[in-house]
């Protein structure tokens, strides 16, 4: 069903312990889902390729969906608890729980193998445990209970961030509230300096250090679990790939570490965009005249090729000596050395000169030099510049060193321009010499991936040698921190295609529920599952937020003029409830306006949950403080009951779309299409 397809493939990767990279969120959420699969005995063998495909018998659907359902169910008691801890009555707390209970969207989302309900669970847990902690602060600081809730706050926060990045907004909210409380604590002059310091340190440890450690732990477990190479290897650096079982590790295992004169190497571009590729050359030459009339040097093409190929091999040559083999002992190449690069299969030298490159005319053309005996001398000396060196005499290392090749005559730098050559260049990527090296850019940096010491003097033997697989003798390991940093960086920068999805929507549609998502349609009947909210609850939650804001500013202005409508305790409670519920809604909703990724209705659910919690707060406030006569109060009470039964009715009406358990007739479906923009699927017979 819908995004289960997406999460399912990662579960399968976990089951098979294959490395993958998912830019949408940290691994904790995926791991939780995979835990369900593990307990259910899932072997990972299922092709998650089509929405609506029938699950085969080896997929333990029940246990896979158990965890989201469990967390979704726990939201109800947690809502109750939060309202109690905020200092509201049992009645209001029950109201909050009952509202969460009949929210169709939350139910739909919780019943499937999706992460939103897990995220909301941790969000609410963070808020709840912080409130418990703040309340026990008044009674017995530093008690066991106090420590427990404080640490739980930190842990819940990091879990929320670990499930989805958007969890960070709730974390920031909790931090802000904790910061304000801590600031009051600093101003409390009844406490000694030492005691204040202890308080602050305890908070810092639990709310900053613990989450950071937990977050690292998630990645540690993730990297331990997925240790085999898989389809996403190519995005990672060579060093990272070498740390995975199988794949590149098998090839590079035992390669010599230090590149020496006479080494045979493949050079991979570090930037790897639009695709990871290796420096390549082949027999074809640049066309004499390009389509737009510019001329070329007509020398042998040099490109970047995204597949492993024997033409990717280059030999590092000392300009002062002839042999193309490694001497004994090998003479390593160091930072700053001048080298020539010889293409293995054609024995031509890597060359660049003042001729405009085919697609980037501001840069120099890079070619393999062919001597046409015209006045164009070869310029094939390159200076080696190791970017990540620690000392100026560092040796060029396989995989680990990131190098720039600077042309000696023109000081141009070898660069991947990212453009695809036309048909004469076989659609491979263009490589150019960048004259104006404006600082560091990864597209100019290369690293040696495969490497061996060249042994054969003769060209024929050498060709044979190049065709044979590389084999070697040293192995290396990347530290966990380096792997974590690289993985995290790639996850944040990997580009998801931002094209619009059929069911994507804009944040403005969410408040008014102007959009829906069709999750699933029964292959034969018209039973279907939709992500649709309980429209009564959505509308009244939005209204409650507006009422809260209005009342809040009204009271604030009046208090400034020293007119106190509310007793102090009541006012503080009202502010704290607003800060957490209205604030929780705002921080989980407003940032989406700045995001450029594809957005769906379910992104609104965390914000909605907080907004629903605000509803009983406002209702109780109106009943207690604005309805002055008992008559008014009872009228208001009955209105609330009527409103709630209305919400129940809507829930019941939309129930077939929430559970997808009953096939509806086209007429019934058409009747359910309350808004034009709801994409309810009606079969045409």
């Amino acid at each position: 069903i819908f995004d289960e397809v997406y999460y399912g493939q990662y579960i399968s990767f976990y089951m098979k312990r294959i490395f993958f990279l998912d830019g949408s969120g940290p691994p904790f959420g995926h791991m939780l889902l995979a835990l369900g699969g593990y307990l259910g005995g899932f072997d990972g063998n299922f092709l998650w390729n089509r929405i609506g495909a029938e699950y085969s018998s080896n997929v333990p659907v029940w246990s896979l969906r158990l965890l989201p359902a469990l967390t979704g169910a726990l939201l109800v008691p947690m809502a109750y608890q939060i309202l109690l801890e905020l200092g509201f009555s049992h009645c209001a707390a029950t109201g909050a729980a009952l509202l969460i209970l009949i929210e169709n969207a939350l139910i739909t989302q919780a019943r499937l193998m999706l992460l939103e309900s897990v995220l909301i669970f941790f969000n609410l847990l963070a808020v709840l445990s912080y409130l418990k902690f703040a309340n026990s602060q008044k009674q017995r600081p530093f008690s066991l209970r106090w420590w427990f809730w404080l640490t739980l706050t930190g842990m819940a926060c990091s879990c929320a961030v670990g499930v989805k990045y958007v969890g960070v907004f709730t974390y920031l909210l909790v931090l802000a509230v904790a910061g304000v409380h801590a600031w009051h604590l600093i101003g409390d002059r009844t406490l000694s300096h030492v005691r204040v310091l202890c308080h602050l340190l305890a908070r810092a440890a639990a709310l900053l250090v613990v989450p950071a450690l937990m977050y690292l732990l998630f990645f540690y477990v993730h990297l331990t679990l997925v240790c085999r190479s898989g389809p996403h290897d190519q995005i990672m650096s060579s060093a990272f790939q070498a740390s995975l079982e199988g794949g590149l590790a098998r090839i590079t295992q035992g390669q010599p570490l230090e590149v020496a004169y006479g080494s045979q190497v493949t050079l991979k571009n570090v930037f790897g965009k639009p695709v990871p590729c290796w420096l390549h050359s082949h027999q074809s030459t640049y066309p004499m005249i390009y389509e737009n009339g510019r001329g070329s040097s007509h020398q042998q093409q040099v490109t970047c090729y995204p597949f492993k190929d024997v033409n990717n091999w280059w030999i590092v040559k000392d300009p002062g000596r002839h042999p193309l083999v490694v001497s004994n002992p090998p003479r390593p190449v160091r930072h700053g050395d001048i080298v020539q690069l010889v293409h293995g299969m054609t024995t031509r030298f890597l060359n660049t000169h003042d001729v405009a490159a085919p697609l980037s005319p501001h840069s120099q053309e890079v070619s393999c030099y062919v001597d046409y005996n015209i006045s164009m001398p070869s310029q094939n000396l390159w200076r080696l510049d190791i970017v990540n060196r620690e000392s100026d005499t560092e040796v060029w290392k396989t995989i680990l060193s990131e190098v720039r090749l600077v042309h000696v005559n023109t000081s141009a730098v070898l660069k991947l321009s990212g453009a695809h050559l036309p048909d004469w260049g076989f659609r491979q990527l263009e490589v150019v010499g960048e004259k104006l090296s404006r600082g560091y850019h990864e597209s100019m940096v290369w690293n040696v991936e495969e490497h061996r010491y060249g042994k054969s003097q003769e060209q024929k033997e050498r060709e044979l040698e190049l065709h044979s697989p590389a084999q070697m003798d040293v192995s290396r390991n990347l530290s966990f921190m380096a792997r974590f940093l690289e993985l995290q960086w790639r996850m944040l920068t990997v580009k998801s295609d931002d094209s619009e999805h059929k069911y994507s929507s804009s944040p403005l549609d969410w408040v008014t529920l102007d959009t829906s998502i069709a999750y699933w349609l029964h292959p034969r009947t018209s039973a279907q599952i939709h992500l649709l909210g309980n429209i009564v609850i959505w509308a009244s939650a939005g209204l409650a937020t507006a009422v809260y804001a209005l009342l809040f500013f009204w009271y604030l202005l009046r208090r400034r003029r020293c007119i106190r409508d509310l007793p102090e305790g009541c006012w503080l409670r009202w502010v704290l409830a607003g800060a957490l519920c209205a604030g929780g809604w705002a921080v989980n909703y407003l940032p989406f306006f700045l995001m450029e990724k594809t957005l769906f209705l379910y992104h609104y659910l965390p914000a909605l949950t907080f907004q629903i919690l605000l509803l009983p707060v406002v209702l109780q406030h109106v009943a207690d403080h604005l309805c002055r006569s008992p008559l008014l109060r009872s009228v208001f009470g009955s209105l609330v009951v009527a409103w709630y039964s209305c919400a129940c009715h809507v829930f019941n009406t939309l129930r077939p779309l929430t559970y997808g358990d009953r096939s509806l007739s086209p007429g019934e479906l058409r009747a359910l299409r309350w808004k034009d923009t709801w994409d309810i699927l009606i079969r045409k017979y």
């Binding site: 600031w183 600093i186 101003g187 002059r189 300096h193 204040v196 930037f271 965009k273 639009p274 991947l416 321009s417 990212g418 453009a419 104006l436 090296s437 404006r438 600082g439 560091y440 850019h441 597209s443 094209s499 619009e500 999805h501 059929k502 994507s504 202005l557 400034r560 003029r561 020293c562 700045l594 450029e596 034009d676 923009t677």
Partner: protein
């Protein structure tokens, strides 16, 4: 201070005598004002208008073409425009001096801030050329200064100086916003200051609510109404001056273009009613969408059907031309033997693209970006297609059978087979679509401007041309429209992949400069780079300020009793410094959220604030150190020594780096023979 500032800014102002960097844009736009031709730019008009005015007054005739950086000015008088920018740029230093003096009441702090700005090569370079930045920074600093001045008049509300500074703040805000939208940040700063000010007044129970109301009204008048009026006035002048058709016409609606003399819609005389066989252009009614357009390129593989692209395009182009044909016959309606037949509301028509002879077509395929809509393509050969090429033409709010009027009729095109409506989503297509806008056929019949079009050009030799008095748009309409176009233009400035772009975190560390002119060792080179000593001192000061500020704030919150001197100093540090820190943050952090392409020079307004903060901070730190020393003689000595070393240090670093700003010829800095050898402290600087 003022003299020194003017001396440094005007020194060798005439060099280099060729176009540097963005002078090519802003000089050109200045010329447009002098020539009164209409153009389009993503920035509001005030800055360019002032440049144009300066050029006009100094005798520049607007004939220079400003084609590309490096072109020689020759006999053209460019000094007036440069001099004007340098004049405003020079005023930044005295403004900073006065602001700091007002905030800290300490002459040394003000001197230090002024020195930092005078000796900063970056500010100097930026002030010497025909750019918007000196004008923008002038207004920002002037607004800051008048705000600070007016704050210190707070004890005499409604007095003459109070009114003067308050309204001056408003005027400068209008100026800042009128030059670039970045001026919004200083408006936020003033807004914040005003709100907290009002909050204090409101909490003061000795003032009646009526008095507070008066305060509020005064601020609304001076800080909202006045700036808005002035800002609108600049647009009024802009539209009044630019009354000739120019390169910016196509960005605007048909009605707007009719105002411009030289445009083909000005005093238009075209056939009034649409007839079969007419050649037309179709323009979307929503602002800044453009003309219905097609070209000889197919949709790429995997995006709908591989047929010819249909887009909307803002520029006038022969690919915008379409021919109206009857749906069931391919006969040439312009054949003289046929009678003229008018197109009527509700007719079924075909639209044939004139250049490629393909029909406007739609079918049940997802549109390239808006997946909920259907794809629109060009289909068929020489006008022969299929039934998916049929569209019903409807005029909004008209009865069936009416003729369709050029320019005035608001038409909808409804696809006959699928029942969807032709519209533009306003989304920018990727590279394969040449970054033109997407055209879709939307199955939702909701009435929005996106799916309503009008006919703009109309050519039909068989019909008599009549003069059309097009509805003139009102001024608010023009104003709104030009803002929509500007916002769209700003969003369109996106960086490309595999290209070096400046990142906001580069800026405060002075990571990389901008080449203003010249590359090779024989060229006259000017390189925009901050004086590293000044910039790194600023960076250090911000860290130190946050540290010191939090220590003092926590001490106060803990109820520590500070000695009177320290109390005074910490007041200056927290309040005066706090305002400057806020200014720095407001002018810096929003750039992290911007998706558009960014350049190094965007940091300079923030840099002004951080230099002023540095002045206050070091003065306070030195005074605190001096205070903690026992002997008054030693204390005074230490204070003077510290201040002098800071002043002389910046002056000396300016002596070292001045060739960056005043220009250098000769070998590049890597070369040991270069005068700049050894000064390339970061490898990323390339001068």
């Amino acid at each position: 201070v003022t003299l020194l500032s003017f001396a440094t800014r005007f020194h060798r102002l005439d060099e280099p005598p060729h176009i540097c960097w963005d002078e090519t844009h802003f000089g050109k736009m200045g010329s447009y004002y002098i020539n009164r031709t209409f153009f389009f730019d993503v920035h509001p008009p005030l800055g360019k208008m002032l440049i144009g005015l300066a050029g006009y007054l100094s005798g520049y005739d607007g004939t220079f073409l400003f084609q590309k950086p490096g072109d020689k000015y020759e006999h053209h008088n460019y000094m007036g425009m440069r001099g004007f920018c340098a004049f405003l740029g020079s005023l930044l230093v005295p403004f900073a001096y006065l602001t700091v003096l007002e905030l800290s009441r300490s002459l040394p702090a003000a001197l230090l801030s002024a020195a930092l700005l005078t000796f900063d090569t970056g500010c100097l370079t930026l002030s010497q050329y025909i750019l918007l930045d000196p004008i923008l920074m002038f207004f920002i600093m002037a607004a800051m200064l008048s705000m600070v001045k007016y704050n210190s008049c707070a004890d005499r509300p409604f007095s003459a100086p109070w009114w003067f500074w308050l309204s001056l703040t408003g005027i400068n805000l209008a100026g800042a916003l009128g030059v670039k939208f970045v001026g919004l940040f200083i408006i936020l700063q003033v807004g914040w200051n005003t709100i907290s000010d009002l909050w204090h007044l409101f909490g003061d129970l000795s003032l009646s609510v009526v008095t507070v109301g008066k305060h509020l009204t005064a601020r609304v008048l001076c800080l909202i109404v006045l700036p808005l009026t002035l800002y609108t006035a600049t647009y009024a002048v802009h539209f009044m001056v630019l009354n000739k058709s120019g390169p910016g016409d196509g960005f605007f609606s048909s009605a707007f273009q009719a105002r411009l003399s030289g445009n083909n819609l000005h005093n238009a005389s075209i056939p009034e009613h649409l007839a079969y066989g007419s050649v037309i252009t179709v323009k979307n009614l929503r602002m800044a969408i453009g003309y219905l357009h097609s070209h000889r390129h197919l949709y790429p593989e995997g995006i709908g059907a591989r047929q010819q692209q249909v887009t909307t395009y803002l520029h006038k182009d022969y690919n915008n031309l379409w021919i109206i044909k009857k749906h069931n016959t391919n006969a040439d309606p312009l054949d003289p033997s046929f009678p003229v037949e008018f197109v009527r509301h509700g007719d079924i028509i075909r639209l044939e693209h004139k250049e490629t002879s393909r029909n406007l077509h739609s079918h049940y395929h997802e549109a390239p970006l808006t997946r909920k809509h259907y794809q629109v393509t060009g289909y068929g050969i020489n006008g022969t297609g299929d039934s998916n090429d049929f569209w019903r033409i409807e005029v909004v709010n008209r009865k069936f059978g009416n003729r369709i009027k050029v320019l005035r009729s608001r038409i909808r095109l409804i696809h006959l087979v699928t029942g969807c409506v032709l519209g533009s989503s306003g989304k920018v297509l990727p590279k394969w679509g040449w970054e033109q806008l997407e055209v879709t056929c939307t199955p939702y019949l909701k009435e929005t401007l996106n799916s309503i079009w009008n006919v703009e050009d109309h050519i039909n030799p068989k019909l008599p041309n009549i003069s059309l008095d097009v509805l003139h748009p009102t001024f608010p309409e023009i104003l709104l429209e030009s803002h929509m176009v500007m916002i769209r233009g700003n969003n369109g400035l996106k960086p490309k992949d595999n290209e070096f772009t400046s990142k906001p975190w580069h800026w405060p560390i002075n990571y990389q400069g901008l080449r203003f002119s010249g590359i090779n060792d024989t060229d006259f080179r000017v390189y925009l780079l901050g004086n590293p000593v000044v910039w790194w001192l600023n960076l250090l000061s911000i860290v130190l300020y946050v540290l010191l500020g939090s220590i003092i704030a926590i001490a106060v919150q803990r109820g520590a009793h500070l000695p009177a001197e320290v109390e005074g100093l910490s007041q200056v540090l927290l309040q005066g410094g706090g305002q400057l820190l806020l200014g720095w943050m407001l002018h810096y952090f929003p750039f992290f959220l911007m998706g558009r392409i960014l350049y190094f020079h965007h940091y300079f307004p923030a840099m002004l604030f951080s230099s002023m903060l540095t002045g206050i901070l070091w003065d306070t730190v030195l005074q605190l150190c001096a205070w903690s020393l026992a002997s008054p003689f030693l204390a005074r000595g230490m204070y003077a020594a510290g201040l002098l070393s800071l002043l002389l240090g910046t002056a000396y670093s300016f002596y070292l780096f001045h060739p960056l700003a005043y220009g250098m010829v000769g070998p590049l800095a890597q070369d040991p023979r270069s005068p700049m050898a050894g000064l390339r402290w970061l490898e990323s600087w390339d001068f």
